[in-house]
Amino acid sequence: MATVSLHSLVKRYGNVPVVHGIDLAVADREFIALVGPSGCGKSTTLRMIAGLEDISGGEIRIGGRKVNDLPPRSRNISMVFQSYALYPHMTVAENMGFSLKIAGKPQGEIETRVAEAAKTLGLEELLERRPSQLSGGQRQRVAMGRAIVRNPEVFLFDEPLSNLDAKLRTQMRIEIKKLHAKVNSTVIYVTHDQVEAMTLADRIVIMRDGHIEQVGTPEDVFRRPATRFVAGFIGSPPMNLEEATVEDGKLVFAGGEALPLPRQFRDKVEAGRKVVFGLRPDDLYPTGHGIHSGEEAEVHEVEQAVMLTEPLGNETLVFTEFAGREWVSRMLNPKPLKPGEKVRLSFDLSQAHLFDAETGTTLRT
């Protein structure tokens, strides 16, 4: 088991930088998720850790040992690919035992370890099949089995669940979590699916355009997004974000509508400052239908016409127009609403976020 650390890690293709000197320290046995939109450099970073991409600058250490120029096989890692990358000409057992065979382990040991891993993953029945005879979920399991058998210091996952259907994905997510609890090794998990990241990871790394935007626990990145980008990326439906100007204890939007400046920001922003106001749909609700936010709730009510509703059963998403844009609010214990109907909306300003309009960084310190 090992720590992984990246120091000013850079990747360039020709002269085009795709990873701009990132720093990250992953603790032993930690489960880290790298998330971000496609093209943000998360997969490239993972592949550099794996040794599948050359490093243009900086340093990677695994277990304290510098591995920059080591080939993948000398890094004591294993990886689950998005495409699973099962060897089509080998049976499931051969696929799982391949790394041990290459390492020159005796046949008996290979069989025991493959059988062990197969039992963990419920693959005992399938050992003699070939990958083409397996379903998507089974292939996924074999890919994980192949990774476990090696008993590596670090597990790397590259969007392992993105080729599965929604139901199977939820199921495999739970299995990965159980697996991590059992094997107890360091995991670096790349995904574009924030739900996977939130549910699995100890800490989440949010990347954009080759930079790290924020590193933090799921709680951190959800409750205390460091930047406007993180605020918009994490959470579904996404946070309502709108530019405003601070004026005399108020936030004034472009159309002239105003909200009181939330209490927690009163000493932190001066009048005339351009900011971005953010409020999660959970904290914006038809009055009487929200999460009870306790005593510190600072509710501001506005009456608006309903544009559209999306009933989801236990809750309904209500879309209204305010300050020239569409705002999403979440109505718990839903009651039927018709488009055009007037509704009183509660803005729970104690949960609001403010970001600098220029830099996008949070104004909460």
Binding site: G51, P71, R73, S78, F81, A85, Y87, F98, I102, R146
Partner: protein, 288 residues
């Protein structure tokens, strides 16, 4: 008339035309070959007969017997030619495959400067007409003293086949997902091991058909062979075919028999790989 019935009839007519055309096309494709086989099995008198004899009255293997009975008895050194052809084709194919595998792998797996120009350059060497190439080669080979040797022709055929084997093998390696080689490297393979353990076994059928393609090209080549060979020590079958022609006469029957001898190995090999050949050509060319 009922419009449905009219359409039904039209469809029936369409189907009949299709079958007739298909039959005609296949007949035109097969007929020349069959005619050669037939002619090799009938006596010369029947071939020359006027008015023509359509259905052979007797079948004889005289032509084949004569062919193998050696020089002087109406035969030609067919065994020598066959051996030469075999040695030259097999050796040049094996070498071309080795060179082509290295090159094809480079094109399929690496990015490097001038990649497409190099590829085009390789292909352009293939467009040089054999006869145009034979002029300087004849001169160079004469200086080096390798005219009329196996080595000379093998060398020429390797060069002839390398561009095409590279193209085909490139296509087959592309079909093997890059992930697999990467997974193998993570599983502890060196790049070399990853190639032999994973990529090579998966591309093997394709490589085999590239090999057979190269073999056929060497087996059938004429323009270079006709200039770079002189005697039984290196003459190949296509050149040997000319032994049946004299200034004004041609021994049609003997030639047909030799043609059959030539075509049988080619036919067999092609049947074995035809499926891979087509998929290889298309995938290599389409997705390149």
């Amino acid at each position: 008339m009922d419009r449905n019935a009219a359409h039904r009839m039209k469809r029936g007519l369409f189907k009949a035309t299709h079958l007739i055309l298909l039959f005609l096309a296949m007949a035109i494709i097969c007929l020349p070959g069959l005619w050669i086989v037939l002619s090799s099995l009938r006596p010369t008198v029947e071939i020359m007969a006027k008015p023509p004899v359509w259905i052979p009255r007797q079948i004889s293997f005289d032509a084949y017997v004569a062919m193998f009975s050696g020089v002087g008895q109406g035969g030609i050194p067919v065994i020598d030619y066959f051996t030469n052809s075999l040695i030259i084709s097999v050796t040049s194919t094996v070498i071309a495959l080795a060179v082509g595998m290295a090159g094809g792998y480079a094109f399929a797996r690496y990015r490097f400067a001038f990649k497409s120009s190099i590829f085009l350059g390789f292909m352009l060497t293939r467009t040089v007409p054999g006869i145009a190439l034979s002029l300087p080669l004849f001169f160079v080979y004469a200086k080096l003293g390798i005219i009329d040797t196996h080595f000379g022709l093998i060398l020429a055929y390797v060069a002839l086949n390398v561009p095409f084997t590279i193209w085909l093998i490139d296509g087959f390696f592309r079909q093997v997902p890059k992930d697999l080689a990467e997974a193998a490297q993570i599983d502890g393979c060196t790049r070399w091991q990853a190639f032999w353990q994973v990529e090579f076994p998966l591309a093997r059928p394709g490589i085999a058909s590239a090999g057979i393609f190269a073999f056929l090209i060497s087996w059938n080549e004429f323009a270079l062979a006709s200039q770079l060979t002189r005697s039984t020590s290196s003459k190949t079958l296509p050149v040997g075919l000319l032994d049946y022609t004299a200034e004004f006469t041609i021994d049609w029957r003997g030639m047909c028999a030799l043609a059959v001898v030539m075509i049988i190995p080619a036919l067999t090999l092609t049947f074995i790989v035809q499926k891979h050949l087509v998929s290889g050509l298309t995938s290599g060319a389409v997705k390149g």
